[in-house]
């Protein structure tokens, strides 16, 4: 189902490219083809939980990817399917102002192709760009490139922050970038919606398959950069709903109002670098008078020594519910230590150990120590 849906939306863009081709047939059209991938294995080394059966998973277990449903279970040996993936991207410049970008991912966890990006981009001026199509939601600092392992220090960004139903949207955005004195500023506003059939996120919480949708997505992200310093502010609202299976295929109504606010502060001093994020996700189910606030935060410190980059990080996700009967909070902290080695200019290997402490008020994944090894590459 998921595949069919995505291919339908993709075919619209194929049509859009064809139109682009016709109108730009006189001009020189440039193509660029690039890609990236990660081959990773991981395993739950040890852990504890009060109840080893959670949904249909054997726990203690460790969720590697909420969005795509990757989970290391304690009864499994070293497993490659959760985090191994490859992406291919095609950029087409029709003119110096009009371009098309598409990126398709294949993941071992679901053995389907998914279109992560497929949009037309038009430069209204040197500072203003209008884009329409399918994109990643520019929510947290790593959201847009969380699949590109080569681009960051972790083996995977902490799932305390990067774990929601939807990570893409179909819609439009307007991006502004300028320089004021020594500050580079980029601001982006976007709007759209996303429906995920048989959402892998929901499958981590319920055995009954559910569709998940985010509608009325409206957001802004602003990034300030000067020398070693980067700050990024985000604000997004959406209306979220899931299907009411097994009783019905209809989406639950009224939808839950979601508001997300966040700040990331990064410092890069050449050898040393510090990464941090602080976010709050608020979900209000007005029909049931239920409000869930979920602050999440992360801090990481790394040091580059030639080809080596040791890196440690600590993160926390801490649900707060105003009605413990209706919603039992999920709470956990995740500490990790990573060692990255750059093999050459386009590939690296990483080893990472995570210690997850589960403090949820219900039987969730349990405490775990998890090890993973990855080979990340770009081409």
């Amino acid at each position: 189902m998921k595949k069919v849906y995505k291919l339908n939306s993709f075919s619209c863009f194929v049509a859009a490219i064809s139109i682009g081709f016709v109108s730009a047939s006189q001009a020189e059209i440039n193509y660029r083809f690039n890609g990236f991938g990660t081959i990773a294995v991981g395993k739950v080394l040890s852990g504890s939980t009060e109840q080893s059966s959670y949904v249909n998973y054997t726990c203690p277990c460790f969720i590697t990817d909420y969005n795509n449903g990757g989970i290391y279970q304690s009864n499994e040996n070293w497993s490659f399917k959760e985090e191994t993936r490859v992406g291919a991207q095609l950029n087409i410049d029709f003119t110096d102002k009009l371009s098309f970008v598409t990126q398709v991912m294949a993941r071992a966890v679901d053995s389907k192709l998914s279109v992560e990006w497929a949009y037309l981009s038009y430069d209204l001026s040197n500072k203003l760009t209008f884009q329409v199509g399918r994109k990643r939601i520019p929510l947290y600092y790593y959201s847009e490139f969380q699949d590109v392992g080569f681009a960051y220090a972790w083996l995977r960004p902490p799932q305390t922050l990067y774990g929601w139903e939807a990570s893409n949207y179909n819609g439009a955005n307007l991006r502004f970038s300028d320089t004021f004195k020594d500050w580079d500023i980029t601001a982006n506003i976007y709007a759209g919606s996303e429906t995920v059939k048989n959402a892998p996120y929901n499958a981590l919480y319920d055995e009954v398959p559910q569709d998940s949708k985010w509608t009325n997505i409206r957001g802004i992200d602003v990034e300030f950069t000067k020398d070693w310093f980067t700050a990024r502010l985000i604000y997004m609202t959406s209306k979220n709903s899931t299907t009411e299976r097994p009783d019905s295929n209809a989406f639950y109504s009224p939808a839950t109002d979601q508001t997300v606010m966040g700040l990331s502060l990064n410092g890069d001093f050449g050898d040393w670098f510090i990464l941090s994020e602080m976010n709050v996700n608020k979900r209000e189910d007005k029909a049931d008078n239920l409000t869930i606030r979920s602050p999440a935060s992360m801090i990481g410190v790394g040091y580059r020594i030639g080809k080596w980059t040791p890196f440690i990080s600590w993160s926390r996700f801490w649900d707060k519910s105003n009605d413990l009967d209706l919603y039992e909070p999920e709470r956990f902290t995740d500490s990790s230590i990573t060692l990255r080695y750059d093999i050459n200019n386009s590939s690296s290997i990483k080893a990472q150990v995570n210690r997850l402490k589960d403090s949820s008020l219900y039987n969730f994944v349990g405490d775990t120590t998890v090890a993973a090894l990855s080979y990340d590459f770009i081409f």
Binding site: Q89, S121, R136, F145, A151, Y152, T179, K307, N345
Partner: protein, 136 residues
């Protein structure tokens, strides 16, 4: 003692990267600072001080002067520069400078177009282009 000498020589040879000279077309009257070069080669700026558009060129990965440039101009290893660009490329936000296969080709292209900016290792014959800055 011999081992120590070999180690010292190795250490020395690793740090002994060729200097790099930034080159432009002889008609280009713009001055460039190292910070401006960094901004141009990281995609943060696309014009010279006088407002003319700038097209930066890179040497290919295989060329030793590329590693020298990444180190001396951008203060990063080539791998770190690639990681930086992969974030921009795979979010559709930027395209790294185009690569040319040799220093001879770099000189040829820079000498043919006032908008092109390039670099070669110092000591290369720079006839036909203007040396804007030496990075050492």
């Amino acid at each position: 003692m011999k081992t120590l000498l070999v180690l010292l020589l190795l250490t020395f040879s690793i740090s002994l990267q060729a200097n790099v000279v930034i080159i432009s077309h002889p008609d280009n009257t713009n001055q460039l600072t190292k910070v401006e070069i960094q901004r141009i080669y990281t995609g943060k700026s696309s014009s010279f001080a006088n407002g003319d558009s700038v097209v930066p060129l890179n040497l290919s990965d295989a060329d030793p002067a590329r590693a020298s440039f990444d180190d001396k101009a951008l203060g990063r290893s080539s791998s770190q520069v690639k990681a930086y660009w992969s974030k921009l490329v795979f979010t559709g936000k930027g395209t790294p400078p185009q690569e040319v296969s040799s220093e001879q080709e770099m000189i040829k292209l820079v000498s043919s177009n006032p908008n092109i900016l390039g670099y070669v290792s110092s000591g290369t014959d720079t006839t036909g282009v203007k040396v804007l800055l030496t990075l050492d």
